[in-house]
Symmetry: C2
Subunit: 234 residues, 2 copies
DNA sequence: TTAATAGTGTCTCTAAGACAGTATCCG
DNA sequence: CGGATACTGTCTTAGAGACACTATTAA
């Protein structure tokens, strides 16, 4: 008997897509209504089975899940982790290769029956398979990576303000940051460039200056270590 | 036709096991002579196909690759990345879930036809499939993680000296570290504890004090940021 | 004007870098 | 003793934290 004559597991790709809504203190994750059994009609991570005769690579499978091509400048996409066991899916041994995406409000992926749900409102029992665990791993990855990189830039639109960027860091890290140290640090790196003022109707105080990410900082994510602001009780 | 009636990829687990030999300026990786076609007899990463009817989880598959149970206190084992495409294996669509292990000289895994090869001497053309790329990803992961954690502890035996630990960091990071800053930092964390002096015959200068890792630091890897020693041309 | 938000200047304090100095082994 | 390696003390320096200050808008 050849090495390959074993029963093969089902292989899926699942996507954890996070975005950050204005005035929200937690991330939102994209869920879709399942169109097939099991758990027909339940909200779950968008995903699909790898089509060996159609997809050339795992990234092809990612692309197929979202109908349109992912624009790599607006998105951040990385492989998260692979979950595999005999019991994570009642249909039999299955492997799910989970991907993590960080998207801005400007470039939310269009997906049928997709909704963004506040991660703070999720409970394990609402979500089928091990998708709750996958989401928790993704949150941990985003938090970890944001503590030493410029990953939170991907939550922001093409142009953004420094207070918006600081807020993205604070939401993801779950702690307040020292404002002057934050600005010194961000501006001290070659990450972003000022694009001047943009008229923003609903603003109360002094209007903030707008910035955009330098192209290099989106491709080669910068190393930025963030530390909590002890004064503000982090 | 059901969602699951597609052709299923072959699913493998491959292991990148690194260790650090004394007096070596680069890591060594465990390779084994392949016992089956393709590439029969060639050195490749140890690995195997997931047995859906025998393994309950991916970790079970890892365990099966090494005949004996992995001792989690001596080993560091983590999932690295999953490689999947139609062309990485001539036998058809395949997925390989790669794991990274860091082991000390004291606890090298016993594996038939296994040899440790200096990673500096590897070239892509020597190594079948995409295993060269997997090894490079593993090296990058070890380097990255060592720059902000105590991962290099796992390269060392149960008791070790501070110069040995510094050398492990320096080899992995590929840069010299400032000795006084290194010692201050390591000793300032609750990572290791002194166990006194141990007689070491072949030593030339002053004998170093021995330490062991605290249990907590092996389970919950500590955060230690290492910076180069500019004086020594890092 | 006040309230609200954006942004700066500067002092303090922590920890990293430099490096000379001391300690303890072997031969 | 000298050479080798291990370790310490301390001055300098870079950068984070604290926080009071100024700037610019809406109402």
């Amino acid at each position: 008997m050849s090495q390959l004559d074993y029963v093969r597991p089902n292989v899926f790709v699942d996507m954890v897509v996070f975005t950050l809504f204005e005035n929200s203190q937690s991330l939102h994750v994209l869920l879709v209504k399942r169109k097939a059994e099991p758990f027909l009609g339940t909200l779950a991570l968008p995903g699909g089975i790898v089509h060996a005769n159609e997809d050339k690579s795992l990234e092809d499978t990612c692309q197929r899940i979202f109908k349109e091509k992912l624009n790599s400048n607006a998105f951040h996409l990385e492989q998260l982790k692979t979950f595999g066991s005999s019991d994570r899916d009642a249909r039999g041994w299955s492997v799910s290769i989970a991907y993590l995406a960080v998207v801005s409000q400007e470039s939310l992926p269009v997906i049928e029956d997709g909704v963004f749900v506040d991660v703070a409102s999720l409970s394990a029992s609402d979500i089928p398979f091990d998708h709750y665990q996958i989401i928790q791993e993704a949150l941990a990855r985003v938090k970890d990576k944001s503590s030493y990189s410029s990953l939170p830039l991907f939550f922001l639109n093409k142009t953004f303000t420094l207070p918006e960027l600081q807020n993205a860091y604070e939401v993801v890290l779950g702690m307040p940051l020292n404002i002057s140290a934050f600005r010194r640090k961000i501006l001290g790196q070659d990450l972003i460039e000022e694009v001047g003022f943009i008229n923003d109707k609903n603003s109360r105080g002094r209007p903030a200056s707008f910035y955009r990410a330098k192209n290099s900082s989106l491709h080669d994510m910068g190393r930025v270590v963030m530390l909590p602001d002890s004064r503000r009780g982090g």
